[in-house]
């Protein structure tokens, strides 16, 4: 995963919803989980039409439907043929597009549904995890010009040979963003069951504040650090094609959070949010002979076992030896520890320690690029509460620390207060 390039030209500010625009809206499985909810979505869409906007809607399968279909498949074969699995589960979204169009038509709003094949959303042939290659927007444009709402099945496409494909987890978000890019839409709105992106998880810090805006890069960091509002792939895609992305709630009114390119409005905020990850575990090798190839010697074996490594820290050596620490997903901890223990003997290291009870807490914000002192302010705040930092890792717009699991809530709240995230930044 690569964040989008920084410092690009600013092209858009707050979308002017008073003028006519082309909006792509994506509604997830919960939003269309029943006939009543589908009618509710129809009313929302008609509301946007009433404001003069052209609307393309992307929908997921009704919640529970994909699981029901997978259940049928698994009853026949625990490892069903992937091509046929895609033929099967793509029916879930096809049901939703038809029902939503019926609801729109019933209320007098002309509408037309499209399967992935009908749009033509061309993908590669990687069944169950296909990637979009191209989208033909011709028919959709023609329908919009005739005043229709266009409803597209998310999560699906066809390959060159007209085989039905699906895009894998979060695929409907990707469909929405890809369609918005292909149609040069003014905004891609992702309707979900949360009303936006927050400075941190409100379950941990009740004073967490909904962000009006966040950059693609920040969103990518937040997403990769466990904020599950949007799928990483769709944010990457939106950033790559510069599609303004807005996260809104299907069930509450509000403007949600706009995810867009960095602009001057954002400079005021040093830090946009605090993300955290509870899924990690730490492995430390101490007293490793400090010579070239050590990192590879240890991590090569781990990566050969298909275990992904997240943070890696190596301090400057002392007395000809060095300490080497890295984190892995908690599920891979035992396996990784075993591999490293074998390697340590081979490399003549002194000791291998592991700890499952750690968490990673990160400050994310494009503002830290131009401001020194963020890190020291962070470390000071944590020290004041007696929270020991085990590891530190930084990127251009992120500072992550690994701390004891027991300090997660305290750490998040301390940093939230230290950086005054409960208050909107001065414009």
């Amino acid at each position: 995963m690569r964040p989008v390039a920084a410092g690009r030209t600013i092209t858009r500010n707050t979308p002017d919803t008073s003028s006519m625009a082309l909006i792509v809206q994506k509604y997830g499985g919960t939003s269309v989980g029943s006939v009543d909810r589908i009618e509710n979505v129809a009313k929302k869409v008609i509301g946007y039409r009433g404001q003069g906007h052209d609307v393309v809607v992307v929908v997921s399968a009704m919640s529970g439907e994909t699981d029901r279909l997978i259940g049928l498949a698994k009853a026949i074969d625990p490892r069903p043929n992937p091509r046929e699995l895609d033929v099967l589960i793509s029916t879930g979204e096809q049901v939703t597009i038809a029902l939503l169009c019926m609801a729109l038509e019933k209320h007098g709003q002309p509408a037309r549904s499209y399967t992935g094949a009908q749009v033509r959303i061309l993908t590669d042939s990687a069944f169950t995890k296909a990637r979009i290659l191209a989208i033909d927007g011709e028919n959709i444009r023609s329908d919009l010009a005739q005043g229709r709402v266009v409803v597209v099945a998310g999560f699906q496409g066809v390959d060159e040979d007209n085989n039905i494909t699906t895009l894998g987890r979060g695929g409907s978000d990707t469909t929405g963003v890809a369609l918005a890019a292909a149609l040069k839409a003014d905004e891609c709105q992702i309707f979900t069951d949360v009303d936006g992106v927050y400075t941190t998880d409100p379950r941990i810090e009740p004073r967490a504040r909904r962000l009006d805006r966040i950059t693609f890069e920040e969103m990518l960091e937040m997403a990769s650090l466990g904020s599950k509002v949007l799928q990483i792939r769709s944010v990457e895609f939106a950033g790559k094609y510069n599609v303004p992305l807005r996260v809104l709630s299907t069930f509450q009114e509000g403007n949600g959070t706009l995810i867009t390119l960095e602009d001057e409005n954002m400079e005021a905020a040093l830090i946009s949010g605090i993300a955290f990850s509870k899924d990690e575990a730490q492995i430390t090798v101490t007293g490793v002979p400090d010579r070239p190839g050590i990192a590879f010697g240890i991590l090569g074996a781990v990566s050969d076992a298909n275990i992904e490594v997240d943070m890696i820290v190596q301090n400057i050596g002392r007395d000809g030896t060095t300490d080497f620490t890295f984190t892995v997903h908690r599920n891979d901890f035992e396996r990784a520890l075993e591999i490293v223990q074998g390697k340590a003997v081979e490399l003549g290291a002194r000791e291998v320690n592991g700890d499952r009870k750690i968490v990673k807490v990160s400050l994310v914000g494009v503002g830290m690029r131009s401001h020194a002192g963020i890190a020291s302010r962070m470390f000071q705040a944590l020290a004041r509460e007696g929270i020991n930092i085990r590891m530190i890792s930084t990127s251009e717009i992120k500072i992550s620390v690994v701390i004891d699991e027991k300090y997660l809530e305290l750490g998040v709240r301390t940093l939230h207060e230290a950086f005054q995230l409960d208050q909107a930044p001065a414009a």
Copy 2:
């Protein structure tokens, strides 16, 4: 409905299942009504493959699925948009093709599913009751050549603009026959829950015998007279394109009934079967002034009300007046009676009588073409049992009589015995 032209060249006899053939098999909703039943169908198909045949399978939606989908649609709109209704209900067959292919693949039989759009089954744009215009068999042939079983979604197609269409009731049978015609298959096998076509309904005459063969024309007469084994459209289609059609049971072994062109083997049987219809009602206008335009005067008004008229009988006039009798569907009886009563006054007729409690019993057989005396033998047998005949109507291969409803069972059994239908005809 037009029966196929008589006297065509005989092209096929009993199919030689010991040599390799191309077979199109259609399995209905009950046959694929559960995961277990789908596995059972997979085993049957693999059995046919084992005999060296190429097999194309057409499937319906799992039983209950189409009704479930229609229920969702009606919950949104009692009269849902027809285009979207087709998008919705076509998912039923799509689920089945995927599951059947998974089952085949699990047992090591390479298989590939096709939706109507993927085959490309081109239809007109009459949503919910489309007609097939053309079928592209190229991909299917290529798959068969590679040893695959091809599984096609019945009941569905696409129009010229790639809109999904469905074929209406019994559409999967039509898909099967149309595919067999397009692929020049050796036989189209319709698997159902009965094991063939019988000389009459076994619930009325336990000695009813399964026919080994029957002609398209006879089958059309039987179907139109209430023997619901096959949809009339698929039989017409099979006759038109000379596709041998076989009705078999999914759940029992056996050769079923072959529906084919007339051939010399059939000459031995005068009568193939006895069909009957309990859905009719009779209306008689007596004492109508016998002058040109009378029939139109009465029936024109009925047909203007979109009421279908079945049998029509008018006797030679007497004393300048005539009696005019016809039958309509029992559901239309009251409405038709009212219309005719109005007309009768206008035309100066003496009286209008109606009777709901009538049935139509018909002898069907291509053999009667060349044999005189069938009618008199029929009338004699009925008279011997004291069954009064109210109306008589004949076609080239059918004699129908209308009798009191209470005589239905007695009439059918009497005729079954009179024409010795419980015994196979001498070859």
